[in-house]
Symmetry: C2
Subunit: 221 residues, 2 copies
DNA sequence: GATTATGTGGAGTAGGTATCTCCCCTTACT
DNA sequence: AGTAAGGGGAGATACCTACTCCACATAATC
């Protein structure tokens, strides 16, 4: 729960109003980055919090600092998910559950998606969290393969691509049908089975022609 | 082969050097839009062609005009692919072949990807080509389903999402391994079978840890 | 070869966006 | 009440992009 850099922050505590605003900023950042991605400006975040830009820059010297402060804990959530999944008995089911839950988090937070798949932001704590996840995911994959559920030629690095793909569907269709990614992920997972049975029941209906058209119209490359 | 708008262009032919430069611009646009997408500026295209910006703007009054002129024919290629596929006997194989070939085109041309999945550019001839493709793809899908190859809950609109997903892999990894999308597409297609057998052999090796890291570092959200 | 219509180059304009600073004013703490 | 800390937000700075303008160059024509 360290709030600032520095090994042992001496940190005279913030004045009460300042502390309140600091929290407001983090909450606002979570919402705004979540909806609009990391391209959102600190001005946007300030105004969304009902504060002036100066206030934000006083507390967080740069966008990078704010991003670090706010995504470190969200990343932890994903890591914890992986850790929990490793405890489950059914290795294939654990893999599937983890994938769904991680996608769920991604789908509701554009900033998280970008943080996890790009190195443009988050060089400190965020990067550590990412590093922590690599062996967890690797074990999850290997366990699911050993159990005969996951196709043996699937590599841990394919996990990143899978989330990239799901993320692209989210981005493409979120304005039209924010849950459509579930449909695509279900098909994707069907393609990952070592011994596929019948295709699984898709959890979401397809887009019709008008909806696809609408998605194309509001999506910007 | 009409070169200008207007139902019956009276069109005094261009001066020889002008016609040459017009072709140079189109060739340059193909390369630059292909590599960098539609966000490339007409300045970029001019310089890549070894010409001044003014020259480009004289011939193509706006980016939209240039995009129309240059992508209409590329789109036709995709449409022709679909038409050919409808002639093949094996409906599932035709569907698979078409999907691979279309993805091949997309993977080598970022501008084409953006044109096909967004409505931001290409309101005239390009839009007509898109409209022409809808029934073709629909029939391709229905035929593959009727033959028992393609899962029956797959919808024609899922085709767009599939190409969106493949496109996102291309964008993410093209600097590191420009053919990696083949691996992802193969898995995706395995998930589309109505009666899946064993997973297919993947046509491309996975990324290792360093390569994923590198992809993340150069990818910008 | 001279004349003229056509084409060219690229600095420059207009208009946008983003990050971050500065300084006057307000508020909390003692 | 006095003082140190915080807040607001216009504006400085530094980009970027689409597009224009016109002195100069070249091709076509006579």
């Amino acid at each position: 729960m360290a709030r600032d850099a520095g090994p042992a922050a001496p940190a005279r505590p913030l004045r009460r109003d300042a502390e309140l605003n600091r929290r407001r900023i983090l909450a606002s950042a979570r919402e705004v980055f979540g909806q609009r991605g990391l391209e959102a400006t600190l001005d946007d975040i300030a105004h969304h919090a009902g504060l002036g830009v100066g206030t934000v820059y006083r507390r967080f010297p740069s966008k990078e600092h704010l991003v670090e402060a706010m995504f470190a804990e969200r990343m932890e959530e994903v890591g914890d998910l992986a850790e929990q999944a490793l405890k489950a008995e059914d290795a294939w089911q654990a893999f599937v559950d983890f994938t769904w839950k991680a996608a769920e988090l991604h789908s509701s937070d554009r900033g998280l998606r970008e943080i996890m798949l790009s190195n443009k932001f988050g060089h400190n704590h965020v990067a550590e969290e990412k590093a922590r996840m690599v062996p967890l995911v690797t074990r999850l994959v290997e366990r699911a393969q050993a159990a005969g559920g996951l196709r043996p030629d699937f590599a841990p690095s394919d996990m990143a691509l899978l989330h990239m793909m799901v993320g692209s569907v989210v981005e493409f269709t979120c304005a039209v049908d924010p849950d459509l990614w579930r449909r695509s992920l279900a098909m994707l997972l069907d393609g990952l089975r070592a011994e596929p049975g019948k295709p699984s029941k898709l959890p979401h209906p397809p887009l019709d022609e008008d909806e696809i058209e609408a998605a194309m119209s509001c999506w910007r490359p």
